[in-house]
Symmetry: C2
Subunit: 323 residues, 2 copies
């Protein structure tokens, strides 16, 4: 079996038919039709075995997750995903593995209406790069750098669940619905595409929570030239996470655990009502968790009003020595 | 040092200013402006250490080559490259390595006028994915599947040189200009962008020679539903390759060695004169090396007129067991 037949056999199934694909898998490059009045949106995320997912992660979940983390970038921009390219490096061309991987990838892409239009398959240590392309009406993209001091900070869902699922990975086969919920939040995160698109024109900034809430809110604050105060008691934690790991650890993971792919966003407090209506229309729970202010960095406000620095720095791929 | 500062420090240098970049490195996704009247062109290529380049390959050449092989895909489509995203997985965030890699990447991208607009840096075994985006006037892209029986087959440059350079890799520091030429053909291939764009409207099909001439001509023949006859004596071989490895081996590498990133293309014989004029205007040597015909597969015609199957299958990333 050579790389060409691999691609043909397993990935054409993910090549959803779209009118805007002039030429898909099989040539030197894909040819795509971009409608007028939009900006092209492009994101690329790489997942490395043993670093971004456990070595015994099911191949279908690897495929699903590789697509979902990129779709989440689009949610954070308020953008519409259209097309994907796959860079797949794997040690062996094992048929069962590839079939499961391709099915998981197609699950996530097709649910978002995205067509796989090309890519490259190579032999080597397991690494998955997904390149996602799409569009956003010109000038309406949600960015990180437009937040203002005084803006309220919100988060969707219950962050920390994915990190909790990973922490409980060894117990994933236990007959415990709460545990299975947490593990699924890690293995099959939900890109908040509808919420992201609904936030355009309403939110002043948006980011997806991949590095951890404190770290990602820090990215918004740094890009926007302000500081942030995170309200420790307001952090939404799921009953499943509290049941699995206890209240204190749950709150720590909500603040610092990565991989949730929830949206963290900001808007002036006057728009909080409109924001709540939009979130309700999208059927996504949204919680106000803090406020932006002049200055820099993210501090945490305890229930007694005191402020402290966050304990964890979130998920950084390259830590300083010893980190 | 974390991934964010890595990206900031080393890759912003490759973020060439372009009017069509609305938002570059630093957000969840890049925002790009696509002009009217074009199709979007997207290609992705992955290079794996020890598989696509030697483990002791200089980091500047890794960066250069990762960009060049993608630019070559654009040459083969007759397309204009505009923007790139980088998926970089590497074991350590070593400052000198990164500076050299980023400089090599920028050399290749900036020479083609391409801006680096985003990407993802992760820790793991050294793997480089470059995603290239650009445009082609609607309906004018060079494809693999439009060749016809009777078309003449051409190749640019002298294929086999890159494979010769790789074969001589261990002797690369010898004071031999011919050897250095071959090694450079491998480490810094020249994407034939001007030739590719000039071929639009003239060639019936085009592919870049990455898997080896026989294999890549086979891709054109298969996609176009015809066969091909390759004229063994007509294969252009460089004096440097013959000097390094002898006439017989040189011809074998010209037919089956990968990594050249020359263009292999077809046109009706009646257009051969126009083709020669275009090639001369681009200052790229072009040689007629065969003919398409009814049937399937690629055969080789010897000087005595006899036909034989090619000996080597070219460069396939996933060979069958024992291959």
């Amino acid at each position: 079996m050579d790389e060409f037949s691999l691609i043909d056999e397993f990935f054409r199934a993910a090549a959803l038919a779209r009118d805007d694909v002039a030429l898909g898998i099989g040539d030197d490059a894909a040819l795509l039709r971009v409608p007028p009045g939009v900006e092209l949106v492009a994101a690329l995320d790489t997942l490395v075995a043993g670093r971004h997912f456990p070595l015994d992660f099911p191949p279908a979940d690897i495929g699903y997750r590789a697509a979902a983390v990129n779709l989440s970038d689009f949610a954070a921009m308020g953008a519409e995903p259209r097309w994907a390219l796959l860079g797949l490096t794997l040690p062996d061309a094992e048929r069962d593995w590839l079939a499961a991987f391709a099915a998981g990838l197609a699950d996530a892409l097709n649910a978002a209406g995205v067509a796989l239009v090309g890519g490259d398959t190579t032999r080597g240590p397991l690494t998955v790069s997904v390149q996602l392309l799409g569009t956003v009406a010109s000038g309406t993209a949600l960015r990180r750098d437009r937040a203002q001091p005084g803006d309220a900070v919100f988060v969707s869902g219950t962050p920390g669940d994915a990190a909790g699922g990973l922490a409980c990975w060894a117990r994933r086969d236990e007959d415990d619905p709460g545990l299975r919920h947490l593990v699924t939040r890690f293995s099959r995160p939900t890109p908040r595409l509808a919420l992201g698109r609904a936030l355009a024109g309403l939110a002043t900034s948006c980011i997806d929570v991949s590095d951890g809430l404190v770290a990602d809110l820090g990215h918004i604050a740094a890009a926007s030239g302000c500081g942030a105060l995170l309200d420790w008691q307001a952090l939404p934690v799921s009953p499943e996470l509290v049941a699995a790991l206890g209240e204190a650890r749950a709150r720590e993971l909500a603040a610092a655990g990565g991989d949730d792919y929830e949206l963290c966003f900001t808007c002036p407090p006057a728009r909080a009502g409109a924001m709540a209506a939009v979130a309700a229309a999208c059927a996504v729970p949204v919680t106000r968790i803090g406020t932006l202010r002049a200055g820099q960095g993210v501090l945490i406000r305890e229930a007694d009003g005191s402020e402290r620095a966050p304990a964890a720095r979130g998920y950084l791929h390259f830590r300083s020595a010893g980190g």
